[in-house]
């Protein structure tokens, strides 16, 4: 004779939360995988100047960076304390800028090449001499679209 025990007397059974950690872990792994850290490690110290009239950079793939600043303490014995140019992951000289722009252009598709923007990330204590030289080189390489990276200051 089958007997049905009436446990709980009609109360709702508690929802099992055993699978909650699994769900959370899944989300966690997603974020861990999708989090990308800065690809190029800076070899120079840069404190961007402040500005109010800034625009967010669109289309990150179309932006190539030129960094100018004083080398970090670890590199100062080799490269001195004067502001230096960093392209990708190494210190470069002025003459390398044209090659750098050419290779950045090469990486883009035909249609996107005119949209290439050069972002100048320059330390605020840098003197304009080196900045001007870089700008001249960019003009020679006809990379005319530039952006001076700056921190947004509220008005």
């Amino acid at each position: 004779m089958a007997t049905f025990s009436r446990k709980g007397k009609g109360e709702m059974p508690a929802i099992s939360t055993a699978s909650l950690p699994d769900i959370v872990f899944m989300t966690l792994f997603f974020f861990m995988v999708s989090t990308s850290f800065r690809e190029t490690s800076l070899l120079v110290s840069i404190k961007s100047p402040e500005a109010t009239e800034v625009d967010k950079l669109k289309k990150k793939t179309l932006v190539s960076y030129v960094y100018i600043g004083t080398p970090l303490p670890a590199y100062q014995t080799l490269f001195g304390t004067e502001p230096r140019i960093q392209l990708n992951d190494s210190f470069k000289s002025l003459d390398d800028i044209r090659d750098f722009i050419a290779s950045e252009r090469e990486a883009l598709s035909e249609g996107e090449r005119p949209l290439l923007t050069t972002a100048l990330k320059i330390d605020e204590d840098t003197r304009m001499g080196i900045v001007t030289d870089v700008k001249q080189e960019l003009r020679k390489a006809s990379a005319l679209k530039i952006t001076y990276i700056s921190r947004k200051k509220s008005k």
Binding site: T17, A18, L20, P21, V24, F25, T27, L28, F31, M32, S34, T35, P49, E50, A51, T52, E53, V54, D55, K56, L57, K60, T117, A119, L120, K121, I122, D123, E124, D125, T126, R127, M128, G129, V131, T132, K135, L138, R139, K140, S142, A143, L144, K145, I146, T147, Y148, I149, S150, R151, K152
Partner: protein, 190 residues
Amino acid sequence: MARKLPEINASSTADIAFLLLSFFLMVTTMDVDSGLPRMLPPMPQGEQETDIEVKRRNIFTVLINKSDKLLVRGEPMDVSLLKEKTKEFIVNPNNDPNMSESKEEDIPLIGPYRVSTGVVSLQNDRGTSYKMYMTVQNELVAAYNELRDELSMSVFGRPYAKLEKEQQEAVAKAIPLRISEAEPKDVGGK
């Protein structure tokens, strides 16, 4: 006889996982740089001399020396005044003979408008600090942006950034951004 181990309470693993999750949520920033967009002038082809005659009254010269001091149209000036002076120069509300001339032009969507022919000429020394240069650039661009905002507010009732593309082009045509950068001088040395 081995006693059965009591089951470990796993309900707090969710909390731990949440803690980790919220950490990564906060750390993950699609950190987008912001910057001041400008266009460089193209390199002159060949040895041609391009001397474009611009009347003296139409040039607003801004000089920055190696100790970051400003000289605007021959007079020393503080950066805080630069924006207002630039706006005044471009608009020239009182038809001052020392400030920019304007040409009546017919602009689509806006109609006839007095387009200023004034040019801002910026020249710096090789010893000028980048910070000062950026501050000045920012003030000059801000002057133009404010004028564009004022015009689009009065014509379209919305700030420049919120206009349709054709409207933006019309406003940009009425107030063209004319900042020219001269070759820097090397007076102060490094």
